[in-house]
């Protein structure tokens, strides 16, 4: 479309028709060029994923040429940097699973209760203060939580249970749980708030109390959103690094007892990265194999969450 002045001149001078067409063509080209640039920017995220998969798989392939997959999955020792090297990922996985379990035992009940409270019970003023507060809590750097776990929570727990070692999965897990609460609470709350008002009104009209409405109408209706909040919580816990690197100790330990110190997959990667391993050594390759395991684990979580959402989705 030409501008008004262009229209007028073209009426007066038919010879400028060509100039108008040329301008229109150049504008078309410019528009297409801009669209392509924007499209490329959107593609960066796809390339990031491809890059992650490529790097993890390529380096892991080199690793698995030297270590058999069977040993990797079944060996019960993890000593990749020793002369007598063993590569049993179970050792690291046990630390990851134990600390995540502790975190989820804290985060899921508290997060759900907070979400129900904020969505169905809390007066407007409390909600207006609490939501930003939770957001701030979720924005605290994890290294700060690590410091807090090591130097505040662990001494506190030792006060109750003096035999607790200075590094342990329990205090790291508890603090990790508190870190995850805001994520679980805010996503669950969004899901509950999205439940249409007339479902609640129907329930109240039948004489149900707030508690009955919340637990028997709102939560079941929002269950797909709540489930995906839990899944997100799990993948946060599994991928969390600094709290565990600081507070859980970094020695590999095949244990499911949260009172013991243990290394997790993520803490191991940090430990290796802190040392000065030459590029291409087996120790260097090991962190990519560990990273691939972590990635597969969170990917499984994401897919499970996607399927949960699909199968539980209620349409209104």
């Amino acid at each position: 479309m030409a501008s008004v002045s262009g229209e007028v001149t073209s009426v007066l001078q038919p010879a400028s028709q060509n100039a108008r067409l040329a301008r229109r063509r150049s504008r078309f080209i410019r528009e297409k060029a801009i669209e392509s640039v924007l499209f490329l920017a959107a593609l960066v995220s796809v390339f990031t994923t491809l890059g992650i998969v490529y790097i993890l798989v390529a380096e892991s392939v080199v690793f698995f040429e030297q270590v058999s997959l069977w040993d990797f999955l079944t060996d019960n020792q993890w000593t990749p940097l020793f002369d007598d090297a063993h590569f049993g990922i179970l050792v690291l996985l046990s630390g990851t699973l134990t600390s995540s379990a502790v975190a989820l035992i804290i985060a899921i009940p508290l997060g759900t209760v907070i979400a129900i409270y904020l969505s169905e019970f809390a007066p407007f003023s409390i909600r207006e203060i609490a939501k930003p507060f939770l957001e701030l809590l979720g924005g605290v750097p994890t290294i700060i939580y690590g410091y807090f776990a090591l130097l505040f929570v662990t001494p506190l727990l030792q006060w109750f249970y003096p035999a607790l070692p200075g590094f342990n999965l329990l205090s790291a897990g508890i603090v990790m749980g508190i870190m995850i609460i805001p994520y679980v609470a805010s996503i669950s709350e969004d899901a509950m708030r999205a439940v249409p008002m007339n479902l609640r009104e129907g329930s109240y009209a039948m004489g149900a109390t707030r508690f009955q409405t919340a637990t028997r109408v709102v939560v079941p209706a929002a269950i797909s959103g709540i489930a995906s909040a839990y899944i997100l919580g799990i993948s946060r816990a599994v991928g969390e690094t600094m709290i565990l690197a600081v507070a859980a100790g970094m020695q590999p330990n095949l244990t499911f007892n949260p009172l013991e110190p243990a290394a997790t997959i993520t803490a191991f990667i940090v430990q290796v990265a802190l040392g000065d391993l030459p590029h291409g050594s087996i120790g260097y390759q090991t962190i990519f194999a560990a990273g691939l395991t972590l990635m597969l684990f969170t990917l499984a979580c994401n897919i499970a969450g996607h399927m949960l959402r699909k199968s539980f989705r209620e349409a209104y």
């Binding site: 501008s3 528009e31 669209e35 924007l38 499209f39 920017a41 959107a42 593609l43 960066v44 995220s45 796809v46 990031t48 994923t49 992650i52 790097i55 993890l56 380096e59 508290l110 907070i114 129900i116 409270y117 904020l118 019970f121 409390i126 930003p132 507060f133 939770l134 957001e135 701030l136 809590l137 924005g139 605290v140 750097p141 290294i143 700060i144 690590g146 410091y147 807090f148 130097l151 505040f152 805001p182 109390t209 707030r210 508690f211 009955q212 993948s235 991928g239 690094t241 600094m242 690197a245 600081v246 990667i269 940090v270 990265a273 802190l274 590029h279 972590l294 969170t298 990917l299 994401n302």
Partner: protein, 308 residues
Amino acid sequence: MPNARDLVAIRALIASHKRWDMLFGVVGLVALMIGVLTFVALFADMAIDGIPRLNWDFLTSFPSRKPAQAGILSAWVGTALVMLVTAFFAVPLGVAAGLYLEEYAPKNWMTDIIEINITNLAGVPSIVYGLLALGLFVYQFGLGHSVLAAGLTLALLILPVVIVATREAIRSIPQGIREGAYALGGTQWQVCKDHIIPYSMPGILTGVIIGMARAIGETAPIITIGALTFIAFLPAPPLKLEPPFVSFDWLFSGFTVMPIQMFNWTSRPEAAFLQNAAAAGFVLVIMTLAMNGFAIYLRYRLRKNIKW
């Protein structure tokens, strides 16, 4: 008609249900308080240990083997430089990607893939980004353990945050604005440049600040790409006295950042270093809280003021 005995039973039932309501109200408040109290304890713990150590020398000294002389100069300079690189890449890329997905993208499988992919990327643990950067930026691209590699890593990490914030901001602009602009003969890019982007600016800014606050506190990916923990020099200054006056040597310099400095001090047994860690942590917490708080305030103002 219910008789008197039934009435009593019904009243008892109602009373017991109401008690449950009360009880849950209290339980909810207690759960909320656990979160709030933890936050207060964390903040107070860090402040009590750290504030006595905070002074001008602490901000202007390099790390040292002697805890009393150690400072965070190289750490905060490193953080500032890395953030500069991160913002330089993440903001234009994120806004462009968000704009494309909201305004340009056709409904097809390609768009679906991009959207699913962004959702998935937001759930990838940050340390995996560190591994990507170690393999790709540090070794394949040969950037080394540099400010540039770290900035790029964090830019990829916060890209989903910026994209999602941009999309939400754009989506809240009413359709009438676009129709008005197109009716006056604007091309798609003119509509975006003169209307969509300016109107979504506050929303985008909120997302960018939240993303940057996250990037400042990220430790794991930066450790993974091999940032050193003991740095007693500053990267080359970006401005010089002789022509061409600007220098980009700092991009390829070794560096350390605030959270890594704090991690380094936390992992030492001496109490004096732990105090340093608390002081560094306090600075870090204040920085992230200020950024997040500003973003929350901005969003609050936005909701109040803009009524389309």
